[in-house]
């Protein structure tokens, strides 16, 4: 095992498969199981074959019911060889389980993920063919708890396995029991940042599928409920009863614990928490205004964090009657060139579109936004420019008063400077309304045809028939392929043959470089 090249690992897996088959075929080869479990003890980079073998063996055993034991209280253990064998198998199973779970934290790369999958598969098998007789729906919550423990107690970030776990958290029963288990284990006084990160991520994954917040539309959803995926369902057994209210309660409990942690200590955790809160938890919370403090603090933090918090604040303001004093000033301050580098710019643009869709806003404020957005569009990467211009067009369409910024009705006066002051922090005082959108008209000369036509559209926003369109930011680096796919009627060449490597007119490379002369 010291030098495990590719061939040997193949050999090992073949060997293991043989052993497993032999073991499953007859009890004569019972020792094979012990051998296989022995493999865990060895130092290895790659536990995958062992894990796979274990998965095969125990699923089969569970299916056969070899592990099934009816516990009758006050009855001594039977000493028959059959009973002993069963007990030995149970012991093996427990050992294998603990090995697998420890594999999740200790092994490397692929094996970690495989360990998780194996554990979940075993979990499923056990759920379907429980070890002990149970009435009602059986779900091995204890096993799930050990898995979660492995996730949370790790000293490293478990984002890869947790992401993998999403496959299983999509099952309704896993979600419900998972939330329950997580809520039970989340009490902790001063968790490490890594714990918090793992915890938040796990919670996030558990909430991937929507929990029906209200049961008011129960009748409609009955059809859909049947299609829900349930991990441990067997035909003929009592089916799983999904209870959204319980789920919600558990989720609330999970968050209630998490709230008390110093989430805002580290920007990464904070970002994670905000993302979770904003995207998943907000509609589920019983008392969302409890999150207000956290959101407000985050909003002050600046950068991407405040962008995330903004959405939460919007939710609070819209649905929970919370008044945030100068939210528009905050939003205004967020539009800085740095926003193009962040991953959340799309979210910000979308939110800004929603925020500014109110028709009760003062014109000067909206004008300041329009002006600032178009200033930003001047320096933005092309795909963002198009989105910003769309946003500006929407502003112009929703607030007809702004049309003076693109078509001034009176005879225009010639000014010596732009009345708009970009540095002014207060949007209303920036004097944007007496300015014009010269930036947009400059963007009509943008090199990208799409941007140029978007600028045209902004300037055509005075047209009463145009309607606001939702802002879309295309993916980065997709523009190139999109342009290449465009079809043309003809391909225009230069009409003067180049002499050497310089253009007859307009050569600039040689102008600035001493190489191509």
């Amino acid at each position: 095992m010291a030098a495990p090249p590719y061939n040997s690992s193949k050999m090992i897996s073949a060997q293991l498969r043989n052993k497993a088959n032999e073991f499953l075929d007859s009890r004569k080869h019972a020792n094979n199981l012990a051998d296989i479990l022995q493999m865990f003890e060895m130092e290895s980079d790659n536990y995958t074959p062992v894990l796979l073998t274990i998965e095969v063996i125990f699923t089969e055993l569970l299916k056969r019911g070899d592990l099934f034991e009816e516990i009758v209280p006050l009855k001594p253990n039977d000493v028959t060889p059959e009973g002993q064998y069963k007990r030995w198998l149970r012991e093996c199973y427990e050992a294998a389980w603990s090995r697998t779970v420890s594999c999740m934290t200790k092994a490397r790369g692929g094996s970690r993920l495989q360990a998780l999958v194996t554990a979940c598969k075993l979990l499923q098998a056990e759920g379907r063919y429980p070890l002990e007789p149970q009435n009602g729906y059986s779900f091995p919550a204890g096993r799930l708890k050990t898995i979660f423990n492995a996730f949370l107690d790790s000293e490293i970030l478990m984002s890869a396995p947790i992401t993998r776990f999403q496959e299983f958290s999509e099952y309704k029963d896993v979600q419900q029991y998972g939330l329950k288990v997580l809520a039970a284990m989340s009490y902790r006084k001063s968790p490490t940042p890594i714990f918090m990160q793992n915890y938040l991520e796990l919670l996030d994954k558990l909430l991937t599928t929507d929990i029906m917040p209200e049961i008011k539309n129960k009748d409609k959803d009955k059809d859909d409920d049947k299609e829900d995926k349930v991990l441990c369902a067997v035909k003929g057994q009592p089916s799983f009863a999904y209870n959204a209210i319980i789920c919600r309660r558990h989720a609330n409990r999970c968050w209630a614990f998490a709230c008390q942690w110093p989430l805002c200590a580290e920007p990464r955790t904070q970002k994670r928490a905000l993302l979770l809160l904003v995207e998943k938890l907000m509609p589920l919370l019983m008392k969302p205004h409890l999150a207000t403090d956290m959101l407000c603090d985050s909003l002050d933090a600046g950068g991407p964090i405040s962008m995330l918090a903004l959405q939460g604040v919007l939710e609070l303001v819209c649905h929970h009657n919370i008044d945030y004093p100068d939210i528009y000033e905050r939003l205004y301050a967020m539009f800085e060139p740095e926003m193009f580098a962040t991953r959340h710019k799309r979210r910000l643009l979308h939110l800004a579109d929603i925020f500014l869709s109110s028709t009760h806003l003062p014109e000067s404020l909206v004008a300041a936004f329009a002006k600032r957005l178009s200033r930003l569009a001047l320096v933005a990467p092309p795909e963002d420019t198009a989105a910003l211009l769309q946003l500006v067009a929407n502003l112009l369409l929703r607030h007809p008063g702004l049309k003076r910024m693109i078509c001034y009705d009176d005879t225009p006066a010639i000014m010596s400077s732009d009345p708009y002051v970009m540095e002014e922090t207060s949007a209303c005082a920036s004097g944007a309304l007496s300015s014009s959108l010269w930036e947009v008209s400059a963007l009509r000369r943008h090199w990208l045809p799409a941007v140029a036509s978007a600028a045209d559209k902004v300037l055509a926003a005075a047209d009463p028939r145009a309607a606001p369109v939702t802002v879309q930011v295309p993916d980065e680096l997709m523009l190139f392929d999109a342009e290449l796919k465009k079809r043309f009627k003809s391909i225009e060449m230069n009409f003067i043959r180049p002499v050497g490597a310089s253009l007859p007119s307009g050569e600039r490379l040689a102008h600035y470089w001493e190489i191509a002369t």
């Binding site: 990467p381 009705d409 045809p449 342009e483 391909i491």
Partner: protein
């Protein structure tokens, strides 16, 4: 007063007087002359022309007119001669005698001039005959021309010396006695002479005719023979026959040479007239101007598109249309009908829209997909109207893609031929799949298969070579470099040697170019040569595969283009030394014009090759977005700017390049000299792309801002904003000049060594700063006319102000401060005009063609067809004219009769007079006679 005036310029006054007299005559109507015609009915509003007349006057006029016309004619009847006075101005009594003389002189001059023009033909214009000037034709190389004849003729026709001396000047006593022939009369001599010359002439003529006949015969025979000769040479005979031919070759050498001379003899007639230099230059200029205009049209394509758009939409207009662009419903109506099964027959698009009637669920789905489609289209931009074209074009496009795909496959094949067999399988599978799709051109298929076969055949042979070659390739750069150094010195000396060398090489190239190995051939050809030699080789290669020579040469050239792309790629990858960079650029400089030629020869396919290459490069870039691509990518941007019109509004090659470059400038990290120098390279290329169109490239402006930011000290207290790829407090200020470089020589351009620099030296820093300042200035100038110039460039000026100019070389510092001053000044004088909408012209209501109906006249015939009416009208007119003419004739006759009677009467009177005279004289005579009688 008035009278004196009149007297002074008497000529004028005369005229006026005459006129006045005429006027007076007109006005003074003699009441006895006026005859009033009685009107039968008074018609309101009708202007009667004939209510009054002047019968006496008009009759007198008519008689006068007849006198002048028929009268004179009658006078001149039966007379052959006529006397016409043609002296200029003789009859015009308003001309003075001086004027008359002047006029005559002028006329004389004109006459002279025109005559001169007629006969002096070759004065100012050159006459041509079949495109050749007459002067050139005057070489008279036609054997039939009379020149020769003249030469001989003079000899023949002229008298010989003997005769001249004897016949003309001979005679006299002395000579006669000396003559041996004795007395031979002069007449005899002459006769003999004439006879002789006639004979000789006839002989000559005969001979000439014979040669002419012969040449003509030969010509026709040769023409018959020509195709046979050409055909024979085209079909290359196999080597067996060569052996036999070898022996005969020596004998045939002369013959062959003569035949080749004949074969290559040019025998076409020039079709177009020869243009002189001026004309050619003028036409060239016009052509360029036209192309330039087209280019500008494309540059502003958007506006044109817009203006042309509504024309297409011009459909039906209602008479009640108010021109407010209100549309009632645009979809055309359709008739709802049902087929046999009772399903409605509805066009598909309408079905989609209206499927809500049929089933709610489908409607929902459709609705979603529809809207997304619409969104997509919306994204795609309205310019791409081609996309609305029918689906079969889509198929075509797919074809195209397939072809490209296969071609690239092919290219790959060529690149790594060591595993040809594997690839072959690939190709086969490829072709089979494409068969399934039935979307590939048949031609292409066959070609491909041919390739495969050839590959198979050549496989064994080439394998060994290829291994060697691949080894060579590995050392390619090294060899190149060494050779370059070696040859650099001996470049001029061994010019002749090079030529010989090249000739050998060319042989190789033209004979060894088997389809599959041309990539290696090319490398073999070009490696280890100076750029100049490479260009020579390339030129020959291209010439030898000129599309006019053979059918598939065009294809071959396209392949050559692809290989050249590959060659350039190889040339620019892994450059680590300054010399290597310089050498590569020199080679590129030589290759580039040929790339242009090749790309021009087949625009579509070459574009596809280039796009594929760019796509590959972009894929590589996507893998690590933070790293700036190396020169082997950047050089293709330069190539694009050399080949294609980068100023277009949207261009199939240039726009993706724009995207690529802008992505590099916005996504990459610029921290090392490697990335910074390449960034500056890209920025200068972006400037080159936009130099004509003056488009706004934010990425380049931001990049310059970043470079200036990296080269200035900024404190945390007063930061200046930068745009994302640069970070405010995180970036290391790599370009800040720390040492005093005041004494250093000034430099303005980036150098090749900057592309391979490992560390940011002081020189590097200075060069970066000065070139970015220069580029910044140019960009600034480009956007002089837009209002937001200030907000674009204000941060740059702030940054420039913080540069510690004292550390830079004097002239560099001076230049920078100059730029700052200039920019500041221009921004200060900038004016801002509020945006207004262009005032629309009020649209006029559309007017309709007037519906003209004939006025009701109550006539019977008004309902006749138009032609009939017309002809009736004409007939009527004809009748009236006839009547008038008859009347005229009658009057003429009367006039003639009256003239005749007058003459008759006159002559009668004369006769009577004469008779009376005679009688009188006779009576007198009788009286005298009687008197005499009485006297006797």
């Amino acid at each position: 007063m008035a009278k004196t005036k009149i007297k002074r310029n008497s000529g004028l006054s005369d005229k006026v007087n005459n006129k006045k007299k005429v006027d007076l005559n007109k006005k003074k109507l003699n009441p006895f002359e006026v005859h009033i015609n009685r009107e039968k009915f008074k018609v309101l509003g009708q202007k009667s022309k004939h209510d009054r007349g002047l019968p006496g006057v008009s009759r007198a006029k008519a008689i006068q007119k007849r006198k002048e016309t028929i009268g004179t004619e009658m006078k001149l009847m039966h007379k052959t001669n006529a006397f016409i006075d043609r002296r200029i101005g003789e009859k015009n009594n308003q001309l003075s005698s001086d004027d008359r003389v002047l006029a005559r002189f002028a006329a004389e001059r004109i006459k002279q001039y025109s005559k001169k023009n007629i006969y002096n033909l070759a004065d100012d214009e050159i006459l041509t005959h079949r495109g050749q000037t007459l002067e050139e034709i005057e070489k008279f190389d036609d054997p039939r021309s009379s020149d020769e004849e003249d030469e001989d003729g003079r000899k023949m026709g002229g008298l010989d010396d003997e005769f001249v001396s004897e016949g003309h000047f001979g005679g006299g006593v002395l000579s006669k006695t000396e003559s041996k022939d004795g007395a031979r009369s002069h007449k005899d001599l002459i006769e003999q002479l004439i006879a002789e010359s006639k004979k000789r002439k006839a002989e000559k003529q005969k001979e000439k005719e014979q040669t002419l006949d012969l040449t003509e015969k030969l010509d026709t025979e040769w023409k018959d023979l020509q195709p046979v000769v050409f055909k024979r040479t085209k079909v290359e005979e196999p080597s067996l026959i060569d052996k036999i031919l070898d022996k005969a070759e020596k004998r045939n050498e002369d013959y062959d040479r003569a035949m080749r001379e004949l074969k290559f003899d040019r025998r076409g007639v020039p079709s177009d007239g020869l243009k002189n230099e001026e004309k050619v230059a003028k036409e060239e200029k016009q052509r360029l101007e036209k192309l330039e205009m087209e280019r500008e049209m494309r540059m502003h394509a958007r506006e044109i598109d817009k203006s042309s758009m509504p024309k297409e939409q011009n459909k039906h207009r209602s008479a009640d249309d108010l021109d407010d662009n209100f549309e009632l419903d645009d979809g055309p109506d359709f008739m709802l009908a049902y087929d046999k099964d009772g399903k409605p027959l509805v066009p598909e698009h309408i079905f989609k829209q209206n499927s809500g009637f049929l089933s709610s669920k489908t409607k929902f789905n459709e609705g979603i997909s529809d809207s997304s489609d619409a969104d997509n289209e919306h994204d795609e931009n309205e310019e791409s109207d081609d996309e609305k074209e029918s689906s079969d074009e889509d198929d075509e496009e797919q074809d195209g893609h397939n072809i490209i795909g296969n071609d690239t496959e092919d290219k790959l094949n060529i690149e790594c031929e060591t595993d040809v067999k594997e690839k072959d399988q690939n190709m086969e599978s490829d072709s089979s799949t494409s068969h399934k799709e039935k979307s590939i051109d048949d031609n292409d298929m066959t070609e491909k298969q041919n390739d495969d076969e050839k590959l198979d055949i050549d496989n064994d042979i080439n394998l060994d070579n290829n291994i060697n070659e691949s080894e060579d390739e590995a050392d390619d750069d090294m060899i190149n470099f060494k050779d370059y150094q070696g040859l650099k010195q001996s470049d001029q000396e061994s010019e002749d040697e090079i030529m010989e060398n090249d000739e050998v090489e060319e042989r190789i190239s033209s004979f060894f170019d088997v389809l599959n190995s041309e990539g290696d051939n090319l490398k073999e050809l070009l490696s280890g040569k100076t750029p100049q030699q490479q260009s020579l080789v390339l030129e020959r290669l291209i010439k030898s595969y000129d599309p006019s020579r053979a059918e598939n040469n065009k294809e071959l050239l396209c392949r050559l283009y692809a290989h050249l792309l590959q060659y350039i790629d190889d040339l620019f990858s892994n450059l680590e030394e300054e010399d290597e960079v310089l050498n590569s650029f020199k080679t590129f400089k030589k290759i580039a014009p040929y790339m242009y030629d090749l790309a021009l020869s087949n625009v579509l396919i070459c574009k596809k090759y280039l796009c594929e290459l760019l796509k590959k490069k972009h894929e590589d870039f996507k893998i690590n977005k933070k790293r700036v691509p190396d020169l082997d990518t950047l050089i293709f941007f330069k190539l694009v700017s050399l080949l294609y019109a980068t100023s277009d509004y949207r261009h199939p090659v240039a726009t993706p390049c724009f995207v690529f470059m802008s992505e590099i400038l916005t996504k990459c990290q610029f921290q090392s000299p490697y990335s910074i120098s390449r960034g500056i390279f890209i920025t200068s290329l972006l400037l080159e792309y936009t130099v004509l169109s003056k488009r706004l490239v934010p990425a380049a402006i931001n990049f310059l801002r970043g470079i200036l930011f990296l080269s200035t000290e900024t404190s945390i207290l007063n930061p200046i904003q930068v745009i994302p790829p640069f970070r405010l407090h995180k970036d290391k200020k790599v370009l800040v000049l720390e040492d005093d470089c005041n004494k250093m020589a000034e430099m303005y351009k980036m150098a090749a060594k900057d592309l391979v620099a490992k560390e940011a030296t002081n020189e590097f820093k200075i060069r970066c700063v000065i070139s970015s300042v220069n580029m910044l200035h140019e960009m600034f100038e480009n956007f002089g006319d837009i209002e937001c110039q200030e907000c674009l460039f204000a941060p740059h000026i702030q940054l420039l102000n913080r540069l510690n100019l004292e550390l830079y070389p004097k002239k560099v510092g001076f230049r920078i401060s100059e730029v700052i001053q200039d920019m500041k000044q221009k921004l200060e004088t900038k004016t801002f005009t509020l945006l207004t909408k262009e005032k629309k012209k009020p649209k006029a209501l559309k007017l309709y063609e007037p519906d003209i109906q004939e006025v009701f006249t109550g006539r019977k015939h008004s309902k006749l067809p138009r032609e009939k009416l017309e002809s009736n009208k004409l007939k009527h007119k004809h009748k009236r004219e006839m009547k008038g003419a008859l009347r005229e004739i009658r009057r003429d006759k009367a006039f003639i009769a009256s003239v005749k009677i007058k003459q008759k009467i006159q002559s009668d009177n004369v006769r009577k007079e004469k008779v009376k005279q005679i009688y009188k004289e006779a009576a007198i005579q009788q009286g005298e006679l009687n008197k005499l009688k009485r006297m006797k």
